[in-house]
């Protein structure tokens, strides 16, 4: 009997056979599984407020079907399965963060459904084309870790990596899935045994204004285990934000007197450190972009040279013309949308399209850098800035702003996902241009599914009520209200931007983005993440780099995959009506 680890029998003896990579089986499986995840996460995301890329789960399903059922899957073929599945699924987060807000505000009928599709599909394609030169810069030259991409590569390579690594991967998966399951007992009508958050501060009898709570998430701990050193900067930044800035501003009396107890920490986070963090992220990434220009130039030159040499060179890169075509298409679509859906006039519509394209590029770069260094994606912070820019550009035209916001949201989620997939591809030796082409050909499917599910939910239950709270879209609506009400901390963004810019000049790559991220993220998640990073660094020091690769990496990948699989299972159970969160 053929086992999971065996080389497929029909290819092992044939040395001349073409190596299976893009195959009909991989494409069909990727699209089907991606569509299934997209539908499940759209519904679950509007109820519970979370989504997931689902690459690792797709890789496991890929192995099961390609090798388990069809008996002929290869590592790079399965990589195509997970690439397509996550490309189809990833646009969900960009859609559910924005479009339901139009329904909640009763503005959805002002825009034709065709524009909904065009705007989100354009975003899906843009996110992929804009990162063509960034692949070389971030994966090949800057060697960013992309923890999810690394974890997925570990899953893909498991059958050939030996039994020890497979055991560690599965042990990690089962452990983290079990912990998540036990935490969700109340949803299943069982007693609450294990909390999702532990308040260390109250155990230590610390004053209530000191926030020392930690999420019990093995997935986040696993992310830290893979990230290592970069994550320590995030931990240090979090400590600066929560345990230095908060006490100092309290001692200096900079907090309104009616804010007391546990509300102090929340006030400082919401009004002081988080906006500063968003500014730092922007300033840090702009400085990073300027500093990386020589590297991006090397990357683009190398791609252009390979294309010029044509058949004489082993060209495995997507031609740079795709980038120019993508930018041109984006400009055109944004211009048509702005011109047709508003009375902005020709000049203002052109300006909106131009700044929109430039912003999508900067936001894609920032989100790719951030996920590459830490696995965290600051999408909600970037959405706030996007909405702010777009409201100004469109003369406070809210429906148009939200629609263009959907383009940006889908583009930046797609960029982050594509970079993770390309990192996985690098680690398993996939051909980058093949991965990018299949993403381009399939990424537009996700928005159709997500928009259809949103429309169906609206008809069946309504949106923004007890049944379908749509927390992310409600948050966007609050953002729009805050911006229209003039309560946007632009001075904090500016001050943070200057500090982030300066930090990125320090010579520590991405320091501005890392510190910005640490001030933007809640400490709840920084703590388990930082703990993972500390364990990584201590283990590396004591046992060496090889131990990290051989033991820690597969175990950490398992921790990430187990919890992710459970979130999908709970999403499906919610769709099926078994669970009622």
């Amino acid at each position: 009997m053929e086992s999971f680890r065996d080389v497929p029998k029909n290819v092992a003896s044939d040395k001349r056979q073409t190596y299976r990579e893009i195959t009909p089986a991989a494409v069909i499986l990727g699209v089907l599984w991606g569509a299934f995840m997209a539908a499940s996460f759209t519904y679950a995301g509007m109820i519970m407020g979370f989504t997931s890329g689902g690459s690792a789960i797709a890789a496991i399903v890929g192995w099961g079907i390609l090798r388990g059922v069809l008996k002929k899957g290869t590592v790079v073929e399965n990589n195509i399965v997970q690439t397509i599945a996550s490309a189809v699924n990833i646009s969900v987060s960009g859609v559910i963060f924005t479009i339901p807000a139009l329904y909640i505000m009763g503005m959805h009928e002002e825009i034709s459904t065709l524009y909904f599709f065009l705007a989100t599909a354009a975003g899906a394609i843009l996110g992929i084309t804009f990162i063509i030169p960034l692949r070389k810069q971030m994966i090949e030259i800057d060697r960013l870790k992309f923890p999810t991409g690394t974890a997925v590569a570990t899953v893909l390579k498991t059958p050939g990596s030996g039994i020890e690594k497979a055991r560690l991967l599965f042990f990690g998966m089962i452990l983290s899935a079990l912990v998540y399951l036990v935490q969700q007992f109340p949803l299943l009508g069982l007693p609450h045994v294990l909390p999702e958050v532990i308040n260390i501060g109250s155990f230590l009898h610390l004053p209530s204004w000191i926030n020392l709570a930690m999420a019990l998430s093995l997935m986040v701990f696993g992310m830290g285990l893979i990230t290592g050193r970069n994550g320590l900067i995030v931990l240090a930044g979090g400590a600066l934000s929560y345990y230095i800035i908060t006490p100092v501003v309290k001692a200096l009396g900079w907090i309104p007197s009616d804010v007391q107890g546990a509300a102090v920490s929340s006030f400082v986070y919401a009004n002081m450190t988080r906006p500063l963090g968003i500014g730092m992220l922007l300033g840090g990434s702009i400085a990073g972009l300027i500093l990386s220009l020589p590297v991006i130039a090397v990357a683009m030159k190398s791609i252009a040279q390979a294309n010029k040499m044509g058949a004489r060179s082993r060209n495995e890169e997507l031609p740079i013309s795709y980038l120019y075509a993508g930018a041109g298409l984006a400009f055109l679509l944004l211009f048509i949308t702005a011109y047709r859906l508003s009375n902005l006039g020709l000049g203002r519509s052109l300006l909106t399209a131009f700044i929109g394209v430039a912003w999508i590029f900067i936001a894609s770069l920032l989100v790719a850098m951030s996920t590459g260094m830490t696995d965290w994606s600051p999408v909600s912070g970037l959405s706030l800035v996007s909405v702010m820019i777009l409201l100004y550009l469109t003369n406070k035209n809210v429906p148009l702003t939200i629609l263009l916001g959907a383009t940006v949201g889908v583009a930046i989620s797609g960029a982050a996902d594509m970079m993770q997939d390309l990192k996985t591809g690098h680690l398993v030796g996939a051909i980058p241009s093949r991965q990018q082409k299949v993403e381009l050909l399939t990424a537009w499917i996700g928005p159709i599914i997500a928009l259809t599910v949103v429309g169906l939910i609206w008809k069946a239950y309504g949106i923004g009520n007890d049944m379908v709270p749509a927390p992310q879209a409600m948050a966007l609506k609050s953002m729009v209200d805050a911006i229209l009400g003039g309560s946007v901390p632009i001075d904090k963004f500016l001050a943070g931007g200057i500090l982030g810019f300066a930090l990125s000049l320090s010579g520590v790559p991405g320091l501005g983005v890392l510190v910005g991220l640490s001030m933007y993220l809640p400490m709840l998640y920084i703590l388990p993440y930082g703990l993972g990073c500390i364990v990584h660094e201590l283990t590396k020091k004591k046992k060496g780099h090889e131990f990290i690769t051989e033991k820690v990496l597969p175990f950490a990948a398992g921790l990430m995959v187990g919890e992710a699989a459970m979130t999908l299972l709970f999403a499906v159970l919610t769709v099926a009506g078994v669970l009622h969160p």
């Binding site: 073409t18 290869t74 030259i141 060697r143 390579k157 059958p159 500093l291 051909i431």
Partner: protein, 170 residues
């Protein structure tokens, strides 16, 4: 020492700047003062890093010489692997080479201080070779020996090209 002082000033400046900026509205005087401290820290840090790199290169314990040693050994090892017939053995040996090469990128990072462009060229060549070896590993793991051998050769040539790039930087 310069690097340490630079780090301390950078951290101090950041803390001061973040606290000043956190006030509603920000204390711009404090932010500017902190930026000056950060600026001095950044200059000292970068100078210290450059000096460290030069010292390591002179001692032969780091810098370009160490990178040359890593590449030379990897080229020898891949050359040996190319002579092996049994595909499971090839995959096992290749795993060891790939793990050994994992350290190359971290050791090459200080070159960024000298020339970002040169570092970019070096890592482009290296990553191409590494990806070829990764593909060879996957192909051998899947039993596609022909593909594995082809990419093993690409990886071997890629490592040689990386070594030549490194020598041209030197």
């Amino acid at each position: 020492m310069k690097k340490l002082i630079g780090n301390i000033m950078l951290t101090g400046g950041l803390i001061g700047g973040a606290i000043s900026a956190a006030r509603i509205p920000p204390m711009w005087g404090g932010v500017i003062g902190s930026l000056i401290i950060m600026g001095v820290g950044i200059v000292l840090r970068r100078r210290g890093e450059k000096e460290e790199l030069h010292r390591a290169t002179q001692k032969g314990s780091g810098g370009i010489q160490e990178l040359e040693r890593i590449l030379t050994k990897a080229i020898e090892d891949v050359g040996e692997i190319m002579k092996i017939e049994e595909h499971n053995k090839v995959r096992e040996s290749l795993s060891k080479v790939l793990e050994f090469l994992d350290g190359f990128a971290e050791k090459a990072r200080p070159l960024r201080i000298e020339s970002l462009k040169a570092y970019g060229q070096l890592m482009t060549a290296f990553s191409r070779a590494e990806r070829s070896l990764n593909r060879a590993w996957s192909a051998y793991a899947d039993g596609y020996e022909g593909e594995g051998r082809t990419y093993l050769e690409f990886g071997y040539e890629g490592l040689k090209e990386t070594l030549n790039t490194l020598k041209s930087i030197e």
